[in-house]
């Protein structure tokens, strides 16, 4: 008989506690982000595909000296560089920088090894494509087109 009322009492108490918890959640702010209209701030640590950093003084220029260190160090072999010698310019001029993002493991070796800090991770998280070739990025063209 004692148990009979004890169960009723503890049960009723836990029901009321449950109701209070949901009521409290009801008045707390909504946590959903309405994605296409609202966006979260991407953390600076995020690793998107690499891109060529633009020069701070001359925004249309990149800092790459075509040394080829990134190409050599890349464990996945997804970087292909091309450079040529031009009249009146010291060193090689970058003519082509291709990143095969399908192979990239985002290890960051290329970013670390770059002597002129010309490479960095982008904040791009919306990579989408219908073909494999859509992820073969031409980083040099991205700089020239100002993307």
């Amino acid at each position: 008989m004692k148990d009979y009322f004890a169960v009723l009492f503890t049960g009723g108490k836990s029901l009321i506690i449950g109701m209070i918890i949901t009521l409290r959640e009801f008045f707390r702010p909504v946590v959903t982000v309405q994605y296409p209209r609202e966006k979260l701030v991407v953390t600076p640590n995020y690793r998107g595909h690499t891109y060529l950093v633009r020069d701070e003084e001359k925004p249309e220029k990149h800092r790459c000296i075509t040394c080829g260190m990134c190409q050599r160090e890349c464990p996945s072999g997804c970087i292909a560089l091309g450079g040529e010698k031009r009249e009146g310019v010291k060193g090689l001029v970058l003519t082509d920088y291709r990143l095969d993002f399908t192979k990239c493991s985002l290890c960051g070796t290329c970013v670390e090894i770059c002597p002129t800090a010309a490479l960095d991770f982008s904040q791009e998280y919306r990579a989408v494509g219908l073909r494999r070739e859509d992820f073969h990025y031409d980083l040099l063209r991205m700089v020239e087109e100002g993307k």
């Binding site: 009979y4 449950g18 109701m19 918890i21 959640e25 009801f26 909504v30 946590v31």
Partner: protein
């Protein structure tokens, strides 16, 4: 029967029926939206947001979708029973609204046995669920229907016993009379235990969570509604919301003083506002309960009814009888 008597009465019948249908559909739309919106808020989601301001037109779009759906009749089903089940569920849903007193003057008909009338009509829904479960010829449907019948029969007993306590005090089955008896004090303050027992029993009667075993999604897919699509499904859905509205109206009439509230101008008609406010408060509490508690197991459901609700309502009936006699 003279013509001057006949015409206003006919108009009254027409008007009441139109109002009842409007309430049935209006309530289904409001509740459908409220349920989803509140469910979202309880889980810290915004709920429907895409169609209209804050998603208010979501139900209209859903309605169009449901009307456009094909009515699939399973080959193995009992075709006649399968087809009439949603109609049997939905058609009587509007009838109890004819006797519910929304305000002193806004009432279709004040029967002397209005309360019994409502209880008799509401009981038809169990039959509809059983027909749907049997006619679908599907194990989930049948299990859901069987559970529903067992649950409804069990919970009708404490419900009727608590009603009897109220009737002992008011001495009338007329809903108008019951509300008028609460002019000075609402019955919820006189008999809080009866109110709690009655409210729990109505939750079980309307198959609401945590007593939603007949349509337990995780075990029975959708219970007796499993095989229904399109309008067949939405008729069940609207009937369910209407029965919820009726159950809450009954609770308001019996325990929360019906239309009584702070005085308003033209109180004979406008006090319906208090009635609706109370009803929707109870409906929101029902939604709140649904999104708080997990579903009970079947043995727990039966234990709770037979071991707690029935003895409590019996003792309550006895105490009420003694107090009334003194």
């Amino acid at each position: 029967m003279t013509e001057s008597f006949f015409l206003p009465d006919l108009l009254r019948i027409l008007f009441t029926f139109v109002c009842a249908i409007v309430i049935v559909f209006g309530n289904a739309v409001v509740m459908g939206y409220l349920e989803r919106k509140l469910a979202g808020r309880f889980q810290r989601r915004p709920g429907p947001m895409e169609i209209g301001w804050q998603g208010v037109l979501q139900l209209a779009v859903d309605g169009v979708k449901l009307v456009g759906k094909q009515l699939v009749i399973p080959a193995q089903s009992d075709k006649v029973l399968y087809r009439i089940a949603p109609i049997v569920s939905f058609a009587p849903a509007a009838l109890p609204l004819l006797v519910i007193p929304f305000s002193p003057k806004l009432q279709g008909r004040d029967f002397d046995v209005g309360l019994l009338f409502i209880l008799a009509i509401v009981a038809i829904n169990v039959l509809a669920i059983l027909i749907a479960g049997w006619g679908s010829n599907n194990k989930y449907s049948l299990l859901g229907a069987m559970r529903s019948v067992a649950q409804n029969v069990a919970y009708e007993i404490p419900m009727l016993l608590t009603l009897l306590s109220v009737i002992m005090v008011t001495n009338t089955f007329s809903l108008q009379g019951i509300v008028e008896a609460q002019e000075r004090i609402w019955f919820v303050f006189l008999m809080p235990v009866a109110f709690i027992v009655f409210f729990i029993a109505t939750l079980a009667e309307t198959n609401r969570a945590p007593f939603d075993l007949p349509e337990a999604e995780s075990e029975l897919t959708a219970g007796f509604m499993t095989e229904y699509s399109g309008m067949g499904f939405s008729l069940f859905f609207m009937a369910e919301y209407t029965y919820m509205f009726i159950a809450c109206s009954l609770t308001v009439i019996l325990f929360l003083g019906g239309w009584h509230g702070p005085p308003l101008p033209y109180a004979d008609y406008t006090s319906a506002i208090w009635f609706f406010l109370k009803v929707y408060f109870l409906l929101i509490v029902m939604i709140w309960i649904r999104w708080t508690f997990p579903r009970v197991r079947f043995d727990q459901l039966m234990n709770f009814c037979w071991k707690y609700l029935v003895p409590f309502s019996l003792v309550h009936l006895l105490v009420t009888a003694v107090v009334v006699k003194l």
